[in-house]
């Protein structure tokens, strides 16, 4: 997979911060500001509701890449560009077959072992975290940019860093070897999601 085909600024949904109806609008604003990927990651809702949300998001967000967490069936029906798999999700090989080779496959990893596994399994990229302390994972301490460097040393896949990343901190995670960043509260909690996304996009463009 050509690295340039992997989006660099990923917005990830979180119903605790932004309900699903509002999320399409916020995502569209973030895309306008420069986000090039949006992930629907909602584990606790039924598939019917998830599909409706995914279709709404698809039509709202234009050409940016849409990822569905975990459910390949919903990804296929909503014309998503890819799926994001947890470490205990379906296997990359199964998802390749189900998606007929057309889906980008991201794997979420939390350590070097997980990143090696994702590379061996043939994932297209990893989301690695969390890098800094964050309210969404309050019980875990952040591991800093050095964590990204250790992942980069162990696996050649593009790395999307996640966890407490602000626009000011983009530079150091990119310097540590990240290809891009994934953001939740940094955009969902912003007064202006387009403006917030633009600040991340500018920071990413520097390198």
């Amino acid at each position: 997979m050509n690295r340039s085909a992997i989006p660099r600024l990923h917005l990830i949904s979180d119903r605790q911060l932004c309900d699903l109806r509002a999320f399409s609008t916020v995502a569209a604003r973030a895309v306008a500001g420069g986000a090039d990927a949006v992930h629907l990651r909602e584990k606790a809702i039924a598939a019917g509701e998830l599909l409706a949300a995914a279709r709404g998001l698809r039509s709202a967000m234009g050409d940016a890449a849409m990822f569905i967490n975990d459910r390949v069936d919903v990804a296929l029906l909503s014309e998503a560009n890819g799926v994001q798999l947890g470490e205990s999700g379906l296997s990359v090989a199964d998802v390749r077959t189900l998606g007929d080779g057309r889906l980008l496959i991201g794997r979420s990893v939390h350590d070097v072992e997980g990143a090696r596994g994702a590379a061996e399994d043939g994932a297209d990229f990893v989301i690695a975290g969390h890098v800094f302390e964050t309210a969404s994972k309050a019980e875990q301490a952040g591991r800093g940019p050095r964590f990204i460097a250790s992942i980069a040393a162990a696996c050649s896949l593009p790395i999307i860093a996640i966890g407490g990343i602000t626009p000011e901190r983009v530079e150091e995670v990119i310097a540590a070897g990240a290809h891009g960043v994934a953001v939740i509260s940094g955009i969902l909690n912003a007064d202006d999601p387009a403006c917030a996304a633009a600040r991340y996009a500018e920071a990413l463009a520097k390198k």
Partner: protein
């Protein structure tokens, strides 16, 4: 169809005679495979992998074993809710509820590769489901049940009879069904019965399955 030698659609009325849903929490520490093997030995004709918690990776591992066990005995292997899992396991059938993926969307993904079962909450939705291509219907809860927290009010065998009159696809009754009341469900027009706790939580799974199967077969031979 996943297995070219079996036309599941044609066989469906027989495959629905005794339909067993897995439930780890009710299985008293026994594995899915252990329970399913015993249920099939006792006469189960369909097995549904119902995976409510736990990882997908584990669901795939267990599902592959269950699929192989079912295939050996020509038992219909059904996966609940997740079409992606059903396809990855090459299941014979996927079963959907009204909050799951819509039937027409489901058919678009699975095509003719597998059957689709559906649980309609109302008589109207039963009729719609047949029109949208459901291959069979799970109708319930016939009696009160404790296995499914979201099952709703008991509907009684009258609803089985009403749905059976309204559609031409086979139906299976579910919810609180035991050896003692299975006969009434089948006589009301169901092809068979679907059960969770009366089999997976039984002291002797094989014996429980045999008793239920005997009740269903008896009712099918001697309609009221």
């Amino acid at each position: 169809m996943s297995n070219a030698t079996i036309n599941w659609r044609e066989r469906l009325p027989d495959s629905l005679r005794l339909y067993v849903l897995t439930d780890r929490r009710l299985s008293r520490g026994r594995s899915e495979c252990e329970v399913v093997q015993a249920a099939i030995a006792g006469g189960a004709t369909a097995i549904q992998l119902r995976w409510k918690s736990g990882s997908m990776r584990e669901a795939v591992d267990i599902g592959r074993e269950l699929k192989a066990i079912c295939a050996q005995s020509d038992v219909l292997f059904v996966v609940n809710d997740r079409i992606d899992l059903a396809l990855a396991l090459d299941a014979d059938c996927v079963h959907l509820g009204d909050e799951d993926l819509p039937l027409d969307d489901a058919r678009q993904i699975v095509g003719d590769r597998m059957l689709i079962g559906y649980s309609p909450p109302t008589l109207e939705e039963a009729i719609d489901a047949e029109r949208l291509g459901a291959d069979y219907l799970g109708v319930g809860p016939v009696y009160g049940t404790t296995s499914k927290s979201d099952a709703g009010e008991a509907i009684g065998v009258e609803r089985i009879a009403a749905v059976a009159r309204a559609v031409s696809i086979p139906i299976v009754g579910i919810g609180g069904i035991t050896t003692g009341n299975a006969t009434a469900v089948v006589r009301a027009g169901a092809a068979g019965v679907a059960v969770i706790s009366s089999i997976v939580a039984a002291d002797d799974v094989e014996l429980a399955a045999r008793d239920l199967r005997t009740a269903v077969d008896g009712a099918r031979r001697t309609p009221a």
